[in-house]
């Protein structure tokens, strides 16, 4: 805490991004930019059906095609036990992961891989795919979450019995899990309420929409050594997953992350990497695989769609007396929706004595969902925030006031157990109220909405190495792919801790062989946990510098102090020596014991929870139902902004994605369960001209568990937008919409109903 209040030289400035020039000049190498001599091109044959039995696969004609070097199908993969096991830091069921990347007896979604081919050219690989004959027996399918839960729904997995229900069900269903949280007594709570709002909400699955499709090159040699170059959020996670799925020693795989063109959670898993490696292990030639945008939509995971019932009661002064929440999340073809965090986050911003949250994890014939920015939270919090807005309207209370009245603060016990520490939720509400935006006037057909959001933020395993060169410059070796500017923020922390110029610190992202295990870039952890590791590695450097200085001056190590980038004798008693800079000491490294290199490896704890509050103004065209976002402000507690521009970028990016989620993004399936809009033309993420400049207000309530006060930033800003936009639309047209996306046809329909 003390350090967090100190004046910093680098931390808090808007330093130039170390990867900036490479990126704006097109030099930066992304996933698809890697090539190796003798490289083959791999392509995937995907299921045209949403749900079908694979009766046979005949690869003979493809195998004999000139130029085809390897073919794999489900039979090339080991059957793994169905259990949730740790993979580094996450829980994963490797049987399901393995089946998700390559179908076995059944295909469970349109786009499910059934075979992959490596050939000397893309054209040959495509021809080979056309020659593979797959015989399917089409089964009835289910796309919608409510339909999947009905007793007569087609069953995806005959061995799936609902967990969390006593007694355990005897028949299989699509409900993988039921979870619940409760406190107090909701019946008593609703009796105390003067107003009760109960609403049903639906949200659509939305894709992370990263601009760079999945791309990978894998190369296996005859001695078992494997290398992978890939676009990922975590090179160590790719290594761990490939080692499990292909049953290889971890040490036999080396993974090098490319620059990454967006991930947002979608690149926390593997799709192509194990396939490319399996093909390469057959052909002993490098294999490159790049997904098309269509493949990204058909077969990589979005986040869950949902069906939710929210009932909230409040006294006439706005005090919330009870909340009853039921959440049904689609998991896609295999269990594992973010229902748990969805349940835990639903009411987290509020102090509610009587609450109950029940959640269901439901499988449907869609691609398996994967993490997307604060996975699970935006869905449940959207519904709860909408109801709170409606209560505020009904009670004629300002929506910020009703939130402040019920806001969680230090000491509030969350429904899921713990008490909050130093959180900054109320501070975001106050900053929102004080903003020029909130004070500004609106015109006809315009409306304003607000909403808040919470996300946990995490720590996890991180390593860092700082090599000090003889000229006093530093090589900073990091283990997390840089998605949101982490090279800059971590180099700034290194410069600050070492007392050297930021421009003398050169950060690089290591392959898996350069550092110990690093959990992936996700959970808003990289600047927080990576920052802890970098700070510790810098402390290790400083310890070595002091030790070298003690040698040079021939005084005890305790008599050497480190301050502002210089070693000095602790006092006149310690000796009368001129201070030495880091560069001075580094220049004499060989003479004083060899290179100076600091290391740190840790499992970061103490991540600070994040809260944000958004304000949105819209104008609704009452004749077409079209919504224009006029003005948007993101307010967020970030602990401490190491690099304010990249913090603002995260806040703006989260809001932009949330606005897309709110207004236009949805998957459109036909009656056969085939996706109709597998491309950016008809899957409508916002384009630049759809959005105003998104304003940001950074609130800094320092995290006492971090030397620079850092809390995670990247995920919270996608939580509030859907409810903020819905609130603004409600304010403009007087109708509280409950289904996403709030697309023009849907709004026009509501307007016509109203008339």
């Amino acid at each position: 805490m003390a350090t967090a209040l100190k004046d910093f030289k680098w931390v808090g400035t808007r330093a130039v991004r170390p990867d900036g020039v490479e990126k704006v000049t097109g030099r930066a190498k992304f996933g698809a930019d890697f090539s190796l001599p003798g490289m083959l091109i791999g392509k995937v044959l995907r299921s045209p059906h949403a749900h079908a039995k694979i009766k046979s696969i005949n690869i003979e004609a493809a195998r004999t095609l000139n130029g085809v070097k390897a073919i794999i199908t489900g039979s090339d993969f080991n059957e793994l036990p169905s259990e949730w096991v740790p993979a580094g830091e996450v829980q994963i069921n490797f049987r399901d992961l393995s089946r998700s990347i390559m179908a076995r007896n059944k295909v469970l979604f349109e786009g499910h891989p059934v075979a992959a081919v490596a050939a000397t050219s893309e054209i040959i690989a495509r021809e080979a795919l056309a020659l593979i004959k797959v015989e399917y027996e089409i089964l009835p399918h289910v796309i919608d979450v409510e339909a999947a839960m009905s007793p007569d729904a087609p069953i995806l997995h005959e061995d799936l019995f609902t967990a969390g229900v006593e007694p355990s069900p005897k028949t299989a269903s699509n409900i993988a899990k039921r979870v619940d949280y409760s406190s107090g007594n909701i019946d008593d709570g609703f009796k105390e309420a003067d107003v009760i709002i109960e609403k049903h909400f639906t949200t659509q699955p939305v894709h992370q929409g990263y601009i760079e499709p999945h791309a990978t090159v894998a190369s296996a040699s005859e001695d078992g050594q494997c290398s992978i170059w890939t676009s990922t959020q975590g090179q160590y996670v790719v290594r761990a997953y490939c080692s499990e799925v292909l049953q290889l020693d971890i040490s036999s795989i080396r993974v090098t992350p490319s620059e990454i063109g967006g991930g947002f959670g979608g690149k926390t898993t593997v799709y192509l990497e194990p396939l490319a490696l399996a093909l390469s292990k057959k052909a002993f030639r490098p294999v490159k695989m790049v997904m098309s945008r269509e493949e990204v939509f058909r077969s990589s995971g979005p986040t869950s769609g949902s069906s939710m019932k929210i009932k909230i009661g409040a006294r006439s002064d706005g005090t919330i007396t009870a909340a009853d929440v039921e959440l049904k999340y689609q998991a896609g073809a295999f269990p594992g929706s973010p229902i748990m965090p969805g349940c835990m986050c639903a009411l987290a911003p509020y102090n509610i004595s009587n609450a109950k949250v029940v959640g269901y994890d439901v499988v449907v014939n869609r691609p398996k969902v994967v993490a997307y920015r604060a996975p699970g939270a935006p869905i449940s919090e959207y519904a709860v925030e909408c109801v709170i807005n409606e209560i505020a309207t009904k009670l004629n209370i300002d929506p910020l006031d009703i939130r402040e009245k019920n806001a969680a603060k230090e000491g509030t016990r969350a429904l899921y157990g713990p008490q909050f520490g130093a959180i900054g939720y109320i501070e975001t509400l106050l900053a929102a109220r004080g903003s020029n935006h909130y004070k500004s006037k609106l015109h006809e057909n315009q409306g304003r909405g607000v909403a808040s959001g919470f996300w946990f933020n995490i720590g996890g395993e991180s390593c860092a190495t700082i090599n000090i060169n003889t000229d006093g410059t530093a090589e900073l070796v990091l283990g997390n792919p840089d998605i949101g500017g982490s090279r800059a923020s971590l180099a700034m922390i290194a410069a600050e801790a070492l007392g050297i110029d930021y421009n003398k610190v050169h950060p690089i992202i290591s392959d898996t062989s350069g550092l110990g295990y690093n959990f992936l870039t996700g959970g808003s952890r990289t600047t927080f946990a990576g920052g802890l590791a970098v700070n510790e590695a810098a402390e290790d450097v400083v310890r070595q510098i002091r030790e070298r200085a003690s040698k040079i001056w021939d005084i005890p190590e305790e008599a050497v102090t480190w301050e502002d980038g210089f070693v000095r004798p602790a006092g006149t008693n310690a000796g009368n020596f001129e201070p030495l800079s880091l560069a001075d000491v580094a220049g004499m490294a060989a003479k004083t014991g060899g290179p100076i290199s600091g290391h740190a490896q840790l499992n970061a704890q103490g991540a600070g929870p994040g809260f944000g509050t958004h304000i949105c103004d819209v104008e609704v065209d009452e004749e077409t139902g079209r919504v224009t976002i006029l003005r948007y402000t993101v307010v967020q507690d970030v602990g401490k902004a190491i690099h304010p521009s990249y913090v603002e970028g995260q806040m703006q990016g989260g809001a932009s994605q949330g606005i897309g989620w709110a207004l236009n993004e949805e998957y459109i399936y036909d009656e056969e369960g085939k996706l109709q809009n597998a491309g950016f033309l008809d899957y409508r993420i916002p384009v630049a001209s759809d959005l105003p400049m998104i304003d940001t207000i950074i609130v800094e309530v320092p995290n006492p568990r971090h030397p620079y006060g850092v809390k995670g930033v990247g995920e919270v800003p996608i939580v509030p937008p859907m409810a903020a936009v819905a609130g603004a639309i409600a304010d403009a047209i007087g109708v509280h919409l409950t289904d996403l996306p709030m697309s023009p046809p849907r709004i026009l329909k509501e307007l016509n109903k109203k008339q």
């Binding site: 495509r126 098309s292 269509e294 004749e623 077409t624 139902g625 079209r626 207004l663 236009n664 459109i668 109709q676 809009n677 950016f680 033309l681 008809d682 409508r684 916002p686 384009v687 001209s689 759809d690 697309s743 023009p744 046809p745 026009l748 329909k749 016509n752």
Partner: protein, 286 residues
Amino acid sequence: MIYERPNTVSEAVEILSKSHEKKSILAGGTDLLVQMRSGYYRPSHIVDIKNIPEATQIRDDGDTFLVGAGVPGAQLSEHVELIKAWPGVIEAMDLIGSTQIQGRATLGGNLCNASPAADSVPAMIAADATCIIAGPNGYREEKIENVVTAPGVSSIANNEFVVSIRLAKFKTGRADAYLRFIPRTEMDIAVVGAAVCVLIDKKGICLNAKVSLGAVAPTQVVIETAPQILIGTRLDEETLDKLAKAARASCNPIDDKRGTIEYRTSVAGVLTKRAAKIAFDRAGGA
């Protein structure tokens, strides 16, 4: 796959007259290349018309403009006289794609791709434009509304191609406008498109009008009753409501990923009315 780039109209016609299994004319390529890259379509023969002078120039033949079928949108949007004469046609063309696409996309390609949602086609129809078609028997000229016959199908024969589009010159009292509805602000395909061209006298009384809709039927629609609704009026509110009603009545849309029947029909009326107001203002009414 064979790619050819003839230098003259007759060379092109000669190539087209030979029998080829899957022949494609390449103008800007903003539809064709996307279809090829996505694997949906593989022509066996591509004939690029961008080396043919008549197809790549904007010519003034005295009474009319002849816009080559290979002239990109970016060039049209900088042509002062065309903008003055046909602001609606130019804005329709300019709505297609992005800045990069505008460097390639053409009026001719937009027409011959024969999409019901093509932005420039209703505008050209409302403007009474025609196209010059070259074939083995020489040239013929066809009204734009007679070109698209079904989604993806045109009345241009296999051995013919569109060389240019003919648009009249500026005339006082005449103006056009095009509006489309998309859920976003750009980079999208029309859910509904509405083009209106009006001719008014000095007092603001409508002397003639033509109204065409896109994306509301298998082909572009001409609202046949529009002239009788508009002529003789000052496009007052009541008249425009009648026009909107007529627009809705002429819709025959489908439910698809881009819009519902109900929505398309409703918005067709709204856009027609709004486009008519703009055209009327541009023509000097008010």
